[in-house]
């Protein structure tokens, strides 16, 4: 598609339920990032993929959070046994590889509209 697509846009879960959030990046974008954004705050890094490889997952807050990108395109962020503190907007962003990494990108991230998760 023309832009980064995320689904669902809104998700309400009962505490303890598992949720899965999907991200479809811009075609050809090598890098994919997941961020968590609390209300009124800036995006906080969760995890980063280069193609299908998860190169950095240092921002995942607990082992209840899991992300994958098995074919190097669509990515899924899964949260198991959701807690109220997981309530946030989950942003997905993609980018071309940067010039010094051999790509033609300019470092810019292209964001989806986000998935707003509310845990009751």
């Amino acid at each position: 598609g023309a832009g980064v697509s995320q689904s669902p846009r809104y998700k309400v879960a009962k505490r303890g339920q598992d949720v899965a959030l999907r991200c479809d990046p811009i075609s050809g974008h090598v890098s994919l990032f997941w961020y968590q954004q609390a209300l009124g705050q800036g995006p906080e890094f969760l995890t980063y993929f280069q193609n299908e490889a998860q190169l950095d997952k240092s921002g995942l807050p607990s082992d209840r959070f899991f992300a994958e990108r098995p074919e190097g395109s669509v990515s899924t962020l899964k949260i198991q046994r959701t807690q109220q503190e997981d309530s946030a907007v989950y942003l997905c962003a993609s980018s071309l590889e940067r010039r010094l990494a051999g790509g033609s990108g300019t470092g810019e991230l292209f964001f989806g509209e986000g998935s707003r998760l509310t845990v009751l």
Partner: protein
Amino acid sequence: AQTVTQSQPEMSVQEAETVTLSCTYDTSESDYYLFWYKQPPSRQMILVIRQEAYKQQNATENRFSVNFQKAAKSFSLKISDSQLGDAAMYFCAYRSLHASGGSYIPTFGRGTSLIVHP
């Protein structure tokens, strides 16, 4: 790790006037990108302007311009002739040009909420 600081949680401006949003960052690197992103309420984040650290000339995009002071590690955004549609959260972001290390991951400030009064 790199940090990005936006010290103004909220700024107000009258329509048609000029406003400057502040951003400072901390890095030991010499090659990096700096960005300003705009996030309207309940809408997606979009790029406003980008600056490459090796370029001394300040970036400009129509009514948006930056004041990049590399030695001071300062990167402010100036919005001229403010419009009602400029009302949004503005985030400053840093990204290293180098693939190694965590600074390759874009780091964002906490944001400044811009209110535009008619």
